[in-house]
Symmetry: C2
Subunit: 116 residues, 2 copies
DNA sequence: CAGGATCCGGTTAGATACTG
DNA sequence: CAGTATCTAACCGGATCCTG
């Protein structure tokens, strides 16, 4: 194999990695998706409570990004006062392999680092 | 189940997700790991060539981050001129599930978006 | 070759206060 | 409740040039 160039397949895969990384960019998106995945739905403040330390402005912006990329939906229910529900789309749910892999790896990594 | 709190397991998992996300933060780390995973080893300039558009300073910094977190190793061989080889640690290799999941999802996501 | 030094602009994210 | 407004500091990443 030529050391200087990777195969077409690899390149496509690398581009996939980068695409995914870009969609999940920032400090919070994977946490948001993870939380929604575990719980199904969340309202704005619930989400905020579960994601430790996030500012409302930041959460709001992240949610908009995710919505734009069709990974979550935003549903306004005209209760009084209004409530808003965020939920994963099928597209967003299909990220579970990625998110789960991250969760499992992260847990194991932390354990390993503890031992040292 | 209480709507207001997630189980211990979920919380641990969410923390794992966040840990992983933090370790892979920035625009480039997953691409670097992906490239190393496919190829085994890379020298600095090889890596730079394969990662489209990255500046040397940035690549250098990303590599240091990864090394600090024990995901890659840096080996200097005293050839003339010196050459440096970067390689994944077992720890770094164990990220393959995450990286692969990202790659696969990204490829599928792109196809789906193309259709619309 | 493998990076470091420097300069710089844009984005990100945090705190706090405020609104419909 | 579900956000927006404002201000700021930090960081990120790019370009270019330089060095052992």
């Amino acid at each position: 194999m030529d050391k200087k160039s990777l195969s077409e397949d690899c390149l496509r895969n690398l581009r996939g990695i980068k695409d995914t990384q870009d969609l999940l960019s920032g400090k919070w998106k994977t946490s948001i998706i993870g939380a929604l995945y575990h719980n199904g739905k969340f309202r704005f403040m619930e989400l905020k409570r579960h994601i430790d330390g996030i500012a409302p402005k930041v959460l709001s912006k992240e949610l908009k990004d995710l919505e734009m990329n069709r990974l979550i939906t935003r549903k306004v229910r005209d209760t009084m006062p209004i409530t808003v529900e965020y939920e994963l789309t099928p597209q967003g749910k299909s990220l579970n392999k990625v998110i789960n892999a991250m969760g499992e790896w992260g847990v194991r990594y932390r354990e390993l680092m503890m031992k040292k």
